[in-house]
């Protein structure tokens, strides 16, 4: 407890069980009365604890903490651990374990946690004795939050939980084999600046690294000085405000049309804190071959992993961006930036308008997102589940405030939305948290409605119900001869479910009721479920089919 306190932990998402009982017994005193320093949020499933910790971390910038028992308790967290690994989210999972003399005996609720967690965590460690607690906990938080952040798993055998020692606090901020912040390479900075200064058609790709490095201002100064248009990855959406004049939209398979095409036309491509995911690049054999590529990343193993760079700057972008900016000439690329506009207009007419202002037929996801974005406060946090709801929500939500998006980008974890939104409400109680989910993902962590009920967590849940696993259905229609194999879904009566949990609920089926229903949801204190009856077979567009070239993006199918 003291070790967690020393790391500044305030909120713990957890679920007790046999092997973690000593910790829970100690926690009891630290969550009430004069010793109180933590809030413990009892989740309904351990997967929810890790996603809540992720949502908490993403919005607050602090390390999220999950506390669970051994065996199934911790195997249930592994989806969240893998999710946090792919999306560079700092969380620490502390799990009970059988006592060390029972390790390897297939004891009740024993699992080789360090073994299974190693490939999907930044660090995993077994605390075998009480005297290691201070060191291991401090090291865990140091590793989770520094450099490229990520999940750390601590396996805590029961004997180490009950051994008594004299408490000696310890603060780890150095690990000799681990270099979280590589030193700036002046020559790379010079080369990058030279390429940008000579560029006629520069294009920046902004990733979550900018948010993680807290370099949103440095990014704007950099872009503005050299007048560089910038696309953002899905995780980087709130690193640059939606209304910034140099923002040219979202990258990727379902991103914006112009920026995807322009990736194949620019002469210098500047990737900042992003990892050239296959969802961004499409076919890497043809991707941006005409361009010189500058890659800024804190993680050296990302350089040349997916796309080869001409200049690599391995450093925290909080340092590298100002260093490059200092060497840049003030520039104007008006003509180049204007060349995006006709393509934007094509997308607006063919895709955006029909999606957000449809005239007839059932409700569409795009218009629901658009209304919520218009009606909610500027600092609202967007949380999404995975699938069409995620793609529509990320496309049509508006971002005005940094750290405003929680979505599972890398692992694509259905069920992420609801628990991550719970975490977000604890990270930023003063901000509105809007969580868009489909009927599939809503049911994948539906048990967390219990947590929302108990905590009165003010999650505004927008359930976009199309009775389909919509994204898979879209792919079946496009690539699998319209054979809708097990994507149609029978749904429960969500109004009854909301009633069961005592959560306010409204259903919208008619377009004319949408705006007032959204206003009512936003004006209501506490949690809310807004169920929207959505066009069953809607498609997310534009789209670059997987493995295709990004300039082959389709506006219609």
């Amino acid at each position: 407890m003291r070790a967690l306190q020393a790391e500044g932990v305030k909120t713990i998402f957890g679920y007790p069980g046999g092997s973690i009982m000593p910790v829970y017994d100690a926690l009891f005193d630290y969550t009430r009365g004069e010793k109180k320093c933590f809030d413990h949020i009892l989740v309904r499933h351990e997967q929810g604890a890790t996603h809540a910790a992720e949502g908490y971390a993403r919005v607050s910038g602090e390390v999220g903490v999950a506390l669970v028992t051994s065996g199934p308790g911790v195997t249930n967290t592994l989806t969240g651990v893998a999710d946090a690994m792919l999306d560079s989210t700092p969380i620490v999972v502390i799990a009970g374990q059988v006592a060390i003399n029972a390790l390897g005996t297939d004891a009740f609720q024993e699992v080789d946690l360090v073994g299974v967690a190693q490939p999907i965590s930044k660090w995993s460690y077994q605390i075998r004795h009480a005297e290691d607690v201070a060191w291991a906990v401090s090291r865990a938080f140091y590793i989770a939050r520094t450099g490229r952040p990520g999940p750390v798993v601590l396996d805590f055998p029961k004997n180490a939980q009950i051994e008594e020692i004299d408490w000696e606090p310890m603060k780890i901020n150095f690990v000799r084999s681990y270099v979280p912040y590589p030193k700036l390479d002046a020559e790379a900075i010079r080369q990058a600046a030279e390429l940008i200064n000579n560029a006629k058609k520069p294009l920046a790709l902004v990733g979550q690294g900018v948010e993680l490095g807290n370099a949103q201002k440095e990014l704007q100064t950099f872009l503005e000085k050299a007048d560089i248009p910038a696309g953002r990855t899905m995780l980087g959406l709130s690193a640059l405000p939606s209304n910034h004049p140099l923002n040219v939209g979202m990258l990727g398979m379902h991103g914006n049309y112009a920026v995807n095409l322009k990736e194949q036309e620019c002469d210098v491509l500047i990737a900042i804190g992003m990892r050239f995911s296959d969802r961004v690049t499409g076919n890497t054999k043809t991707y941006a071959k005409q361009a010189k590529i500058i890659h800024l990343d804190i993680d050296r193993s990302e350089i040349d992993k997916n796309v080869k760079s001409d200049v690599a700057v391995v450093a925290d972008c909080k340092e590298s961006l100002p260093a490059i900016t200092a060497l840049l000439n003030k520039n104007n690329h008006q003509e180049w930036r204007d060349s995006f506009k006709p393509l934007d207009e094509q997308e607006r007419v063919k895709v955006i308008e029909p999606a957000i202002h449809p005239k007839e037929g059932p409700l569409r996801m795009g218009e629901v997102v658009n209304v919520v974005a218009e009606k909610s406060a500027d600092d609202a946090v967007l949380v999404t589940d995975v699938g069409q709801n995620q793609l529509f929500a990320t496309r049509y939500f508006k971002y005005h405030h940094q750290r405003s998006i929680c979505t599972s980008g890398g692992l694509g974890t259905m069920g992420y939305g609801m628990p991550a939104a719970i975490g977000a409400t604890f990270a930023a109680p003063e901000r509105t948290v809007c969580c868009f989910m489909g009927d599939g993902g809503f049911q994948m962590c539906i048990e967390e409605l219990g947590t929302i009920m108990e905590q009165k967590a003010p999650v505004k849940m927008i359930l976009m119900n199309n009775h389909y696993l919509g994204n898979v259905r879209q792919w079946q229609d496009m690539f699998w001869m319209r054979r809708k194999s097990f994507t149609k879904m029978m749904n429960p009566n969500y109004e009854h479910i909301a009633q069961g949990y005592g959560i306010s609920y409204t259903a919208v089926t008619d377009r004319k009721d949408l705006a007032s229903a959204v206003e009512k949801m936003l004006a209501t204190d506490g949690p809310y479920i807004l169920e929207c009856a959505i066009l069953e077979e809607d498609n997310v567009l534009p789209m670059t089919p997987p493995g295709m070239n990004v300039n082959e993006m389709m506006l219609e199918i």
Binding site: Q118, I143, R176, S177, R300, D304
Partner: protein
């Protein structure tokens, strides 16, 4: 596709449990077979040295080295081709004593390959050879033509770099100073 070569990775790590698992997992994930593996304490106290060989192209071995170096307790991971290294392996050959006595050509072959008999008894002879991979395999092939080999085994590779010094101790000193 670049041509595949035999690369040698030299990995230095802290001496903590479970590192080998993490190192080999990087190979497994990319479905690259490890040809040979040697782990031993290095000259630096508390630091272990792994010498790993694998067939790969350069593009892939760079990624593997970086993924390994990214592990928290790994100090350094660098890859080399054979011309950058001084390499040794050992081979042990257990031969039938009868056949060795009856065919003087076998003893001549052993001498020609600069190998040594390290044990002789009425049933078998143990021959040992240090050298580079090809020589050890060639000796096996030569002995095998006589049909005298009862058992044969080859060690993992050990290697030191031909070029500049290994920079691991310098790196650690610099880290400790700035840390």
């Amino acid at each position: 596709m670049e041509e595949k070569k035999l690369y040698t990775l030299l990995v230095y790590s802290e001496n903590v449990a479970g590192i080998l698992n993490q190192v080999t997992a990087v190979f497994t994930r990319r479905q690259v077979n490890i040809e040979s593996l040697n782990v031993s304490a290095s000259s630096i106290p508390g630091v272990h040295k792994y010498t790993i060989t694998a067939w790969s192209d350069e593009d892939q071995i760079i990624k593997i080295a970086r993924q390994i170096e990214k592990k928290i307790d790994v100090v350094k991971a660098n890859y080399f081709t054979d011309d950058q290294l001084f390499i040794r392996e050992s081979g042990l050959y257990k031969l039938s004593t009868d056949m060795v006595l009856n065919n003087p050509e076998i003893s001549r072959t052993i001498r020609r390959f600069d190998a040594h008999m390290i044990e002789v008894n009425p049933t078998y002879v143990i021959v040992m050879k240090h050298g580079i991979t090809e020589d050890i395999i060639s000796l096996y092939r030569a002995l095998d033509t006589f049909g005298c080999v009862l058992q044969y085994t080859r060690s993992g590779r050990i290697a030191v770099t031909r070029g500049m010094q290994e920079q691991v101790s310098e790196f650690l000193e610099e880290r400790e100073q700035n840390g």
